[in-house]
Symmetry: C2
Subunit: 450 residues, 2 copies
């Protein structure tokens, strides 16, 4: 109803997003936002080479939309299609960041919406980082407000919470006032979607892709006067009631907004596979690099692990690169041989390599519920009779043991140089690190072309 | 997994859609499909004049996609954007068809996906009608498979079931083989969305709009090789488990597919408001036309009604055109004065008209749970002491008392001539009636420009 006072949880959230001054966002949060961007650029560049990515890029290019925004890889297209494509690329390799309290992947829905609108509107770098930080904060808090009921029920939270984050980030770029932001969130939230049934298929990465595009479009349409329901989160038939009927928490959504930041609970992945195997990979790569151990020297490798490692990544004899991502033994074998866990380690060829197969057969585990999800104990037995023991308390990439900026640079250069010359990759990395002082995104986005 | 046999409810459905020969679709179903198209064209043309429609049309035109499909009103754009726009226009006035067993509106998500792909592929008219018939059948059966649990839980079934129908209809136009159709349904179904919370806002019509576009894109992407999960309906974390956890029926989805057709349970609306007031409007318009009664002669009007009439349409003193749609008294008053219940009867001006307001105050009801939803008893008392009684057993527009082709033509011409010359409207109507013999959609789509 026009001019009536709007109330409700969604409006409170919208007010936060609209009203927080740029300078109230801590510099460490803006820095973390920049790190997530560098991570997204790296994995998206590499992601352009995946078969379904190529299909989607080809589809996007046939739309022939007037060139107002840039997709990673270089296609100039509409903001909506750029957001769709970039959302896909950021998630297709399962190599994106993870908000550990909710297993949400914050960047894939939010960065594409923010990038496309910021590029179009010539938003400066610092405002762009702030818009991402707020979009990610909204997304994580929406996720926390329905976790674990919503996730346990079967929703892919990166899609469902993601559309709120993309709308919030996109709406912040457009400078929406609280009432308009409220409609933006409403128009986006009614389309929250993504079923966990799609995990393991090409369709999974469409979840953040569509969330990015719908969030962006909701911001544009709200600005043009379209409206949605008054309280999409708390309304009688709103997101909480329908998508999380077993429970929800308003305080997780709103309490301390702008004071505590969920980006602090976000981790960048050093390895392109499920996070539960990361402690094992961290351990074996440390053994490799510290002691110079090679696969020929190994008699056996035994890990003491949390039960989830076997439940989620127990495939013993993977036959495809994709299978390999669900085999902790494969992750460990290539970790020892290659010292890495990137796209190259999950090709069909690498999974069927004779030495990798031989080494996988020497790996076993002891299941121990006492071992935390980010921990492991490794025992290496060597053919010469020696043994090495290693305990990983917090795997690399967790908030307690984050990838350093230098680790991230190595990841970036490794992935970016799969598809672009080293000089261009270095220029892109430099442009991203100096984003806070950029007047607009032009230089950055010019460098993502292949 | 490649080459393994696909099984499951979704695959059975996909096989039906792909394999039914055109000639096995009864001619009466193709005729009913044509009637729904004429209805969609009429309400979409009128729908272009709504304020949020204009915002969306403006947004679409700024996308500047290469012109491969036509939106009602004339914008030439991409198939996706044409589907989005046409889905919006078909639903914005709440004047579209209704599948009575599920309160689903079949045409709004399906026709836009089918039209855009058929136009692009120069599909002939009869194949186009068949693709709609199959898309609508899938949509109605998906809806029936989760009704009433899914709807009662709070989902707007036109959005959620609609995306399956749009994918099925679009996929049929593209001639997808069963395995590809299965992926098409999967990629669409994981994005099933639309909360009833959005009813009463501009966002409601975005539900079929997005379903149309996502269904269409899923068909295109499936054809290009993208895949989704194997059984999006019946999988452990699929549509049935997540969107209808309280119950579902596989037999409603599959039994007798191709033998019995849900289009027979679909009704075209004669009036642009909630269906529960239609018996009252039918009654008063019959009294007006049969006895030549005018508002000046009336002492009082009393209806015996089903309780839903007051529950859903009990607003006594509407102040806006939109309010008027939720006031059965307003619907009856304009029914007597104007003999109609179209867009003109639901403007802000009409709702505040002095004679309409006066007449509304003479209308009352007796609630009677014995009166069926499609029935009413009307008692008209005249100032001269005379009285008229009328019983409506099945309101006009229900399957038991459908709008005749002639009624539909009157509705079409009334709505189309709001925005286009009578000669063009007549040509468009003729083109639609003769669609079965058209070699492609070119003539038809050329005539929807304003």
């Amino acid at each position: 109803m026009p001019n009536s006072k709007v109330e409700g949880s969604t409006y409170s959230l919208a007010s936060f997003i609209s009203n927080i001054p740029l300078n109230d966002i801590p510099s460490e949060i803006l820095h973390e936002s920049k790190r997530t961007l560098i991570n997204v650029l790296a994995i998206s560049l590499s992601g352009t080479q995946e078969i379904p990515s190529k299909a989607l890029i080809n589809w996007a290019s046939t739309q022939n939309a007037s060139p107002r925004a840039t997709a990673i890889g270089g296609l100039r297209t509409s903001p909506s299609i750029a957001a769709l494509l970039n959302g896909y690329l950021a998630h297709i390799q399962d190599f994106d960041d993870t908000h550990l309290p909710t297993i949400l992947h914050p960047s894939a829905p939010v960065w594409p919406a923010v990038l496309a609108l910021a590029e179009l509107n010539r938003t400066n770098g610092k405002e762009t980082l702030a818009a991402f930080a707020l979009g990610a904060e909204v997304e994580c808090r929406v996720a926390m407000s329905v976790y674990p009921w919503h996730y346990d029920h079967g929703w892919h939270i990166t899609g469902t919470a993601g559309v709120f984050g993309a709308a919030a980030g996109g709406g912040r770029v457009l400078g929406l006032a609280p009432e308009v932001m409220n409609h933006c969130l409403a128009m986006a939230g009614t389309h929250a979607s993504g079923l966990r049934e799609a995990l393991g298929s090409h369709a999974k990465a469409m979840h953040p892709a569509r969330s990015a595009a719908i969030g962006l479009e909701s911001a544009e349409l709200a600005l043009s006067g379209m409206t949605g329901p008054e309280d999409i989160l708390g309304g009688r038939r709103g997101f909480w009631a329908i998508h999380s009927h077993e429970g929800h928490s308003e305080s997780q959504l709103l309490d301390g907004f702008g004071q505590r930041w969920e980006m602090k609970n976000n981790g960048l992945k050093p390895f392109a596979n499920g996070i539960v195997a990361h402690p094992l990979q961290d351990a074996i790569i440390q053994v490799r690099n510290t002691y110079g151990i090679t696969s020929e020297q190994v008699e056996s490798l035994t890990f003491r692990v949390n039960p989830l490692v076997v439940e989620l990544m127990g495939r013993a004899s993977p036959r495809t690169g994709f299978d390999g991502k669900f085999s902790y033994r494969h992750c460990v074998a290539v970790g020892l041989i290659d010292g890495a866990g990137g796209a190259f380690q999950f090709t069909d060829e690498r999974v069927m390599d004779a030495e990798v197969i031989r080494l996988r057969s020497l790996i076993s585990e002891t299941i121990d519920p006492e071992v935390k999800e980010d921990s492991t104990h490794l025992t290496v037995k060597l053919k010469d009779g020696k043994a090495i023991e290693l305990f990983i308390e917090h795997a690399i990439g967790t908030p307690e043991n984050p990838m350093t900026d230098q680790d991230l640079e190595i990841k970036f250069m490794s992935l970016a140089t799969e598809v672009m010359p080293k000089t261009q990759a270095q220029q892109l990395l430099d442009a991203a690190w100096s984003l806070d002082s950029a007047h607009n995104l032009e230089s950055l986005m010019n460098l993502v072309s292949l």
